[in-house]
Structure formats: C-alpha cells, structure tokens
C-alpha cells in the first residue's frame, strides 16, 4: 500500500480522537514491517519501560499528587497562603498563584489543579470583588503555572526522554518558574489595586493558626526541594519518600481519608493516568528507535539548517512550532513524540538540552491556554460552567504575559543554567 495513504489515514484517525498510543504503535509496527524487521522489535523497545529506573517516579508522584488533590489539602493550603500573603495589595491573587503552582507541580499538570483548587479559589476571588473576567482567567491560567517546579511529571518525563539528569532539570526550572509566577503575580497585584480590593491586615495569630492547620504539609516542600536541591537524594528517591509520607499524612495525621476505602479508589484513579502515559511512552520507544535508525532527526536537521541561519531565528521558530504542538497535543505525548526529533537539531544550534527542556515546557504550559484547543480552557469551561469563548477571552492577557516571560526564558539561557552551575548539581 502507498505509504502516503497510510500517513493521511493515521493523521485523520489521530485528529478524530483515536488513542494516541494506537496511532504511534501503528506507525511503529508498519515502519518495522516495511524494513523487513520482525515487529517484535517494537516490543523489545517497549520492554525498556522495565529497564529505566527513573520511571518509578512517575507512578509514585502521580499517586501522591492525586492523594493531595482529593484530601483537604487544597483548603488548608489556601488558608495558609492567605494568612501569609493576604495583606499584600492584590494578595489574594498571589495566594491563588502560589497554591496553584504548588499543586500543579505535584499533580503533574494533569488538569487536577483546576478541578481541585478552582472550586475553592474562584468563589473567594469573586467574593473579594476581583473583576470576574480576571478571576476566571487567573484560575484558568494558574492551572499549569507550576509546571517548571519539582516534582512535576513533565520535567521527569523530559529528563527520561532527552536523557538529561532530572535533578539538574529540577534546578534549571527553578528561576524560570519564579519568573513566570512573578510576571503573572505583578499583573494580578495591579488588577487588585485598581479594583480597590479591600485588604486584610496581617495578623500573627491568624498565621499561627493557619500554620498549625497545615503543619503536616509543611515538610513536603522540604523533602522535595531540600532533598533534591541539597543533593540528599535523587528525584526517584524523593518520589518514594513523598508518596509514602503523603499517604501517612492523609490517612493517619489528618485522617482526611480512610486507608481501606478512599486510598484504593485514589490508587486506581491515579494509575489510569499512569497507564495512559506509559502506553504512549512504550509504543513511542519503538517508533523513536526506528526514526533514529533511519536518521530522520539528522535529515530534519539538515533541512532546518538549510533554511534557518542563526540560533536566534531557530529559537523563535522553535517557540512558534512548540506553541502549535502545545495547542494540539497534551503535554505528555508532546514530550514523548517531539523531543527526540528536536533534541539533535537544538544541540547542533548549541542549545543546551537543559535549556531546551525549560523552553519546551514553558511553551507547552502556554499551549494549555491557547484557543481553540488548549486543555485548561475545556477544564475551566466544564468546571465553572462558562462558555469556551468566555474562558478563552479571559486568558488572553495571561497568554501575553506568559509569552513575554517565555521570550526572556528563551533568550537568556543563564536563567535556566546559572543555578545548575552554581550548585554544581550532577
């Protein structure tokens, strides 16, 4: 059969919503078969899932994230963040940003943030007289804002695919992540001041109560940040400690959940996402192997090099390309499928793989918000019963702000690399 016919049919099927793993698996099977190689090679590559130690972090962090999202942690964290930042002009918006960033980092940008936190934060924003459109936009945009902070799953996945140290990536994402949060934060403060949102005054007893309320959540950032940034243990080890700790926390320390009724439900629920990611990863390993064998990235590189002169132009095109990818695909498939193709090209343009990862993830983060098909728009529209159009309009300004941050992240590599070199993380 004609290869082009097959390509068109597969693309059509993908756009119609066929499971992506079946598309990728189909291409891999067909490609190997055409080469006269036994299709069991696809499975040989798939079996690498059981030979990659870092992959253990994916089920463990996903489980921990789902547990946190289904417990009463969101309420406790919002209360704590309000006690901390509520007195700042526009402080409530900062509260939303910080808690959302924390949650997204933990739940790996699977959309849980909007579902878990949006229902709490949006009513508070509205009650305190923030403009409706701004509030909706902020809550939607915050749904993926913590993507660059540990232990976010997309970072782990990028590390595995690009064969870059995950510990280094976590450090590399820190400053760019702060930059994104502070850009959006500054804008939010301005809106808060302009809308004359009443400020609550800071109170020590209030903060003390909130701290006591969230006392068992407090060690978590230290486990992750202290553990990884301090070099005490690896990302994989941090995932093991976090999953175990969060389990103990929600069942015994807070008693939000029962060990034999709620926890099994969350386990099943979270492993559906893990299964969906690994199905794509497994089949993509076969396809990637074929592509590299056929020197496709090499050819792609020669094509790009023939048409793009400078690193500056390359980075700009990369950004535009990734924004489109982010609009069309979910973040996990995008990383698994696109990174192996882009990586050699970026390397040839002397873009550090760490820096590339941060650019990649920032783009995909924005892709979550871009009409017509960004995931956060749909989640937000469902969650808050607003039309897609309304949600899309509300995030436009946030897209612009994040795009500005993206440009800085792209053209100032040191933002990503400086801290890595400073701390000398291996």
């Amino acid at each position: 059969m004609n290869t082009w016919v097959i390509v068109v049919v597969l693309v059509l099927l993908a756009l119609l919503g066929a499971p992506l793993f079946s598309i990728i698996g189909g291409i891999a099977l067909y490609a190997f078969d055409q080469e006269g190689i036994d299709t069991s090679s696809v499975i040989i590559e798939l079996y690498r899932i059981a030979e990659t130690p870092t992959l253990i972090a994916i089920p463990l962090f996903t489980f921990a994230g789902y547990l946190l999202a289904e417990s009463r942690s969101p309420q406790r964290l919002v209360t704590l963040a309000r006690a901390l930042f509520g007195w700042i002009p526009g402080g409530l918006a900062i509260v939303v940003l910080v808690t959302c960033a924390f949650f997204t980092a933990f739940t790996g940008a699977s959309g849980v943030t909007i579902v878990a936190l949006g229902g709490i934060t949006l009513p508070i924003l509205m009650k305190e007289m923030y403009p409706e459109r701004f509030s909706l936009g902020l809550v939607t945009a915050s749904g993926s804002i913590g993507l660059l902070f540990p232990p976010s799953l997309p970072i782990i996945l990028y590390g595995i695919i690009a064969e870059v140290s995950i510990d280094q990536l976590f450090v590399a994402g820190f400053l760019p992540g702060i930059l994104l949060v502070s850009f959006v934060g500054l804008y939010s403060m301005r809106v808060g001041v302009r809308a004359r949102v009443p400020r609550v005054s800071f109170s020590w007893p209030n903060l003390a109560a909130a701290l006591r309320g969230a006392v068992w959540e407090l060690p978590i950032p230290f486990i992750i940040i202290g553990g990884i940034y301090g070099g005490a243990f690896t990302a994989t080890e941090a995932s093991a400690v976090t999953a175990f700790y969060v389990l103990i926390m929600v069942t015994f320390l807070y008693r939000d959940m029962t060990l034999f009724r709620d926890v099994p439900r969350v386990m099943k629920e979270s492993m559906v996402l893990v299964g969906a990611i690994l199905a794509i990863l497994g089949t993509a390993l076969g396809l990637t192997n074929y592509l590299i064998d056929k020197e496709i990235p090499q050819q792609l590189f020669e094509f790009v090099q023939g048409n793009v002169e400078s690193k500056v132009a390359f980075l700009l095109i990369l950004n535009l390309f990734l924004l489109v990818v982010g609009m069309m695909m979910d973040i996990f498939s995008a990383i698994i499928v696109v990174v192996p193709l882009i990586l050699p090209i970026a390397r040839a343009f002397q873009v550090d793989p760490l820096h590339l990862g941060i650019i990649f993830l920032t783009n995909l983060e924005i892709g979550y918000l871009t009409p017509p098909v960004g995931l956060n728009l749909f989640l937000s529209s469902l969650r808050f019963k607003k039309s897609i159009l309304e949600v899309a309009r509300s995030v436009l300004i946030f897209i612009a702000i994040m795009a500005a941050a993206l440009l800085i992240i792209t053209y100032v590599p040191d933002l990503s690399l400086w801290l890595v070199n400073l701390l000398g993380i291996q």
């Binding site: 919503g17 066929a18 079946s22 059981a50 243990f233 099994p264 893990v274 299964g275 969906a276 098909v373």
Partner: protein
C-alpha cells in the same frame, strides 16, 4: 448486552484490585529502599529490579483501565465539537482501529516472549524474564476486550438511541 457489561465490569474490578496491590507494594518497597540506602548504606538488589518490573505491570494494568474507562490520551479537541451521534460513530471507528493495533502488538509480544524463553533470559537469579514479560500480551489482550466492549455498547447505543457516556 447486560451480560457483556457485567463481564466487562468484573474484569475491570479485577484489574483495579491488582493495581491496588501492586501500587501498595511499590510505595512500601520504594520507601524501604530509600531508608536502607540512606540510613544503612545498603539495598536489596532484587528490590530495585522488582520496582522496575512493577512499573511495567502497573503501566499495562493502568492502560487496561484507561481503555475500560475510555480515558486514553487522545486529541479529542475536534471530536468534542461533533454532535452526539456522529461522535459515537467516530468512536466506534477509532476504537476498531485501536483493536487492530493491539492485536498486532499482542502478536509481536508473543514472538518477543518466545525468543526470550528460547534465549533463557532471566530477570534475577533463577527467575525467568517471561514471568514479568507476560503482562505485555496480557495487557494488550485486556485492552482488546475493553475496546471491543466499547464498540459493541457504542453500536448498541446508536441503534437504541441511548448515547455512550
């Protein structure tokens, strides 16, 4: 129809129970390993290997659940805009495609396991690799069953006018 749904439901529960057991083992074992390594400076060699294979098993069982619940990752942006009836038809087609791919992946994995058995490869010590690898064909088989059930219920829904969820 009822019997089919009942069977699919039972199978789904079995997968769920297995997932819960395996993930529980994983959470505990991974934690014990960290303690052993950092506090006692030793670790269970088989523990690392078991953990890696647990990822494989959890992945396939999770993928089977994702199939049963229709929650595989896909580009659903365009199908979302279709009217209910056409959306069901499109789903039947895409699920049928997925069955075909799973069938060939199942066959490929049987060849793979056959080779591994002939080769006599082991996971650790005396434990043959296929003890773990068997989940690959089993997983694709489970996915085929769930896809098939979704197709049948989809077509049934089209004929009776009750749309699939």
């Amino acid at each position: 129809m009822k019997v089919l749904r009942w069977c699919d439901d039972r199978l789904g529960r079995l997968e769920g129970v297995l997932l819960i057991i395996l993930l529980s083992v994983m959470v505990l074992l991974a934690f014990v390993q960290v303690i052993l390594r950092n506090v006692f400076s030793e670790s269970l060699i088989w523990g690392e290997i078991l953990l890696r294979h647990l990822v494989l098993w959890i992945g396939f069982l999770g993928a089977a659940r994702a199939t049963g619940e229709g929650r595989h990752i896909s580009i659903d942006a365009f199908a979302r805009f279709l009217p209910t009836r056409s959306r069901t038809i499109v789903r039947v087609i895409t699920n049928a495609f997925a069955i075909v791919v799973c069938y060939f992946l199942l066959r490929a994995s049987l060849t793979f396991i056959g080779d591994e058995i002939d080769f006599g490869s082991v996971v650790y010590g005396e434990v043959p690799s296929w003890y773990s690898q068997i989940i690959i064909p089993v997983g694709f088989g489970l996915m085929m069953i769930h896809f098939a059930v979704r197709i049948v219920t989809g077509i049934h829904g089209l004929r009776t006018g009750v749309p699939q969820e």
